[in-house]
Structures are given as C-alpha cells and as structure tokens.
Symmetry: C2
Subunit: 230 residues, 2 copies
DNA sequence: ACAGTTATGCCACTGAGTGGCATAAGTTCA
DNA sequence: TGAACTTATGCCACTCAGTGGCATAACTGT
C-alpha cells in the first residue's frame, strides 16, 4: 500500500487545518484506504491508461475487495475525479459561511473560489488534480463524470445562495447564470493550468483563475470581424 | 417496427428541407433503423426507466441485433441523447455559413442558435427532445453524456469561429467564454421549457431562450444582500 | 446475372457494477 | 478483560454494457 498520509479527503469542513487527526480508528482506516485507492488509481491510470486498468488490478494493488471499492466510490470514473470533487464540495462549504462582502454576487463567488483554493491541502493536492485533469482530457467517460458532478454541485451552491441571500427569487436566472459563468471561467483556468509544464502549484492555478475571471466581462462585448477583410 | 418517417437524423446540412429523400436505398434503411431505435428507446426508457430497460429488450423490439445498435450509437446513453446532439451538430453547421451581421459575438451566437432551432424538424423533434431531457434529469449517466457531448461541440464551434473570424487569437479566452455563456443560457432555457406542462413547441423554447439570453448581462452585476437584514 | 461492397447477425468474451450473507474488526459498557 | 453490539469488509454469483471476429445476406453497379 502506498503512502497515504497525504491530504484531507472529505471536503475540508469549517474546522481547522488537519481534520483527519482526532477521528476514531475505524474512520481513519477508511480514510486511509480511500486515499490509497485514489493515489493508486491516478498512478496506474496515468501509466496504463484508464481503460487499460481493470478494477480488479487496482483493488489487488491496494489489497481491497472490489466490493469495498464500490462502498467508497460510485464508479471507476469517480475515484479518478475525487480530487476535483473534494474541491467543489469545499467550495459549497465556503459559500455556507461567507459574508456578503463583495458588491456583486459574481465577485463574491470568485473570491470564495480563490479562498477555497488556498484552503486545499498544500502537499499533494495540486499534483493529484493535475493527473486527474490530464486523464480526463484523454478519457471521455471521466470528463463526462466530472462535468456532471460539477453540475450537481452548482445546484447545491445555488440552493445555499438562495437560502442565505436575497436574490430575486428562484425563477430569476441571474444567480444561476453567475454560477455558470464562474464555473466556465474555472474550467478555462484549469485547461490552461493543466497544459503548463513543470510542477503544478496552487499559486499558479490562482493566477490562471484571475486571468480567466478578468476575461469574463469582455466575453459579452467581444466584437467579430471576418478574417481577411480588415 | 414503429413509424420512422419522422425527422432528419443526421444534423441538417446546408441543404433544403427534407434531405433523407433522394438517398440510396441502403442509406435510407440505415436512417430508418436509426430513427426507430431512437423512438423506441425514448418510449421504453420513459415507460420503464433507463436502467429498467436492457439493450437486448430494445434491440428485440426494433428487431435488430445488439451489434447493429452499436454501429449506430456509441452507448446506451447516446441513443437517448440523439435529438439534442442533432441540434448541436446543426448549430455548428450554422456557424459555418453565418455572416457576422451582429455587433457582438455573443449576439451572433444567440441569433445562430435561434435560427438553428427554427430549422429543426417541426413534427416530432420538440417532443423527442422533451422526453430526452426529462429522462436525463432522472438519469445521471445520461446527463453526464449530454454534458460531455456539449463540451466537445463547444470546442468544434470554437475552432470554426477562430478559423472564420478574427478573435484575439487562440489564447484569448473571451470567445470560448462567450460560447460557455451561450450554452449556460441554453441549458437554463431548456430546464424551464422541460418543466412546462402541455405539448412542447419550438416556439415556446425560443421564447424561453430569449428570456435566458436577456438575463445574461444582469448575472454579472447582480448584487447580494443577506436575507433578513433588508 | 455477376462481382464488389457493406451492413447485419451470431457467438463468445471482457469487465463494470450489484445483492446477499457470513465474518472480522472496531466500539461500548459492565 | 470480556461480552454484546455495531459496522466495514470479503467472497460469490449474477446481470448487463460493450467489443471483436467471421460468415452471410442485402444493396450496388455493370
């Protein structure tokens, strides 16, 4: 079993830094196998491809039964997308506690996202997300799974927003569209960040995020001219 | 085999109304079984649920071998999402021929989308999309598949745009974000349209689309105030 | 009618995902 | 410390989506 003393697995709750410390032994073990499955999966998927790795192989490597795998993850895709999903879960968590300090909703969402990023485990999280994203680019079913999780999370975020704040009612599309815009920008930032060579860092991702956020207003007003005729 | 003289299946090319007429017999047959598979799939999935219907059952009902099914569709999800996918394909097609008449890119995209909608078959297309969407709302794997196809199509659309028009280079995120915004609005419109009672029409969808488009600018400037404290 | 092309059917096979049940490991309380 | 309880795990058998190979039937043009 590979080293599994890496990052927090369940989305960092409101609590402090390391939340996996003072848990009952049983819970800690569960967390450890979960993390081992994630790390080993990313490793083997990267090396032999997603389709080139069977669940039986993965489970053998981590020394767990397939049944146990499916108690931790809903599908083969799920285990590989776990790092990103933890992030989204943490984001919704952040929305839960955030004060409406920014003038516009979109800015508040962007700030929350950047703050959530800073709160992700510093050690190996960035690398795991990178592997996960590069894998997803090659693996349609993984990408689809990620997109769907993202969509579900968006609904959850919207529910939190509507519960906490006064945003023109549930029929008003603007809040939802603001979330959609946020996520679009996030995905563009991820694309760019994923293509960067060298060691991935949260700081670099934060920078790419700011760039993407900055491009948002211009996307609504961008004008179009034919290629040849100036 | 159910009636299959319904709509065009491959995304309506640049040609006129009915393009499935003057094709070789073999092609027509292929089109017909394809359409039969789609219609029967939507029917049975709606009645017995997506997971409650096996491919063997479906293939038996249409009287085709499972092997043939997979020559027409890439997966079980694929057949159920075909109506929407035809639409996206037609949209990219529309981008290919459109003149840059609108001031901003986003408006051009919106116009193209509305125009594409008008060009979809009038008879049963709306109903098929409705069934497909209602199914997708209940079936995670279908929704995921649709989201992924949408994402792929977006890349194709972006490629067309960059080839035909001068939009600040490939590194400029604005064009891609404009597409993302368009798609977000489209999905919101679909959500609302899908929830409407009664017979679905293209006109109603067009109206919901316009509503969603209208909400876009406000989504960037929407302000946020806590619930209780006025 | 004949030869060339291509869709189809059939069959066997891999691998993801599920349900049931016995068991082992962790937990609680006396 | 050990009994009683709770819960995660392992094992087994099973369904079903999806694939590859090959023979055959259906369309095509001459």
């Amino acid at each position: 079993m590979p080293d599994a003393e890496t990052g927090t697995t369940t989305g960092a709750t409101t609590g402090a830094a390391t939340d996996a410390e003072r848990l009952p032994l049983r819970e800690r073990k569960k967390l450890r196998t979960r993390q081992a499955l994630i790390d080993t999966a990313l490793e083997r998927f990267t090396e032999h491809g997603f389709d080139g790795t069977t669940l039986d192989e993965l489970c053998d490597a981590v020394d767990v039964s397939k049944r146990t795998f499916f108690r931790n993850f809903t599908s083969k895709e799920d285990v590989a997308m776990a790092p990103t999903q933890d992030f989204w879960t943490a984001f919704v968590d952040g929305l839960e506690t955030r004060a409406p300090d920014s003038p516009t909703l979109l800015e508040m969402l962007q700030d929350t996202l950047l703050e959530t990023l800073e709160r992700m485990p510093a050690d190996g999280w960035a690398r795991r997300v990178l592997l996960s994203r590069r894998l997803a680019e090659k693996t349609p079913s993984m990408d689809a799974h990620g997109l769907h999780f993202c969509d579900r999370t968006t609904r959850a975020a919207l529910a939190v927003l509507h519960r906490r704040f006064d945003l023109g009612g549930a029929a008003d599309l603007r809040a939802r569209l603001a979330l959609d815009v946020l996520i679009a920008a996030f995905h563009r930032a991820l694309d760019i960040w994923t293509a960067r060579p060298g060691t991935p860092t949260r700081a670099a991702l934060a920078a790419d995020l700011r760039t993407a956020f900055a491009a948002v207003p211009g996307s609504l007003t961008l004008t179009v001219t034919p290629r040849k005729a100036g």
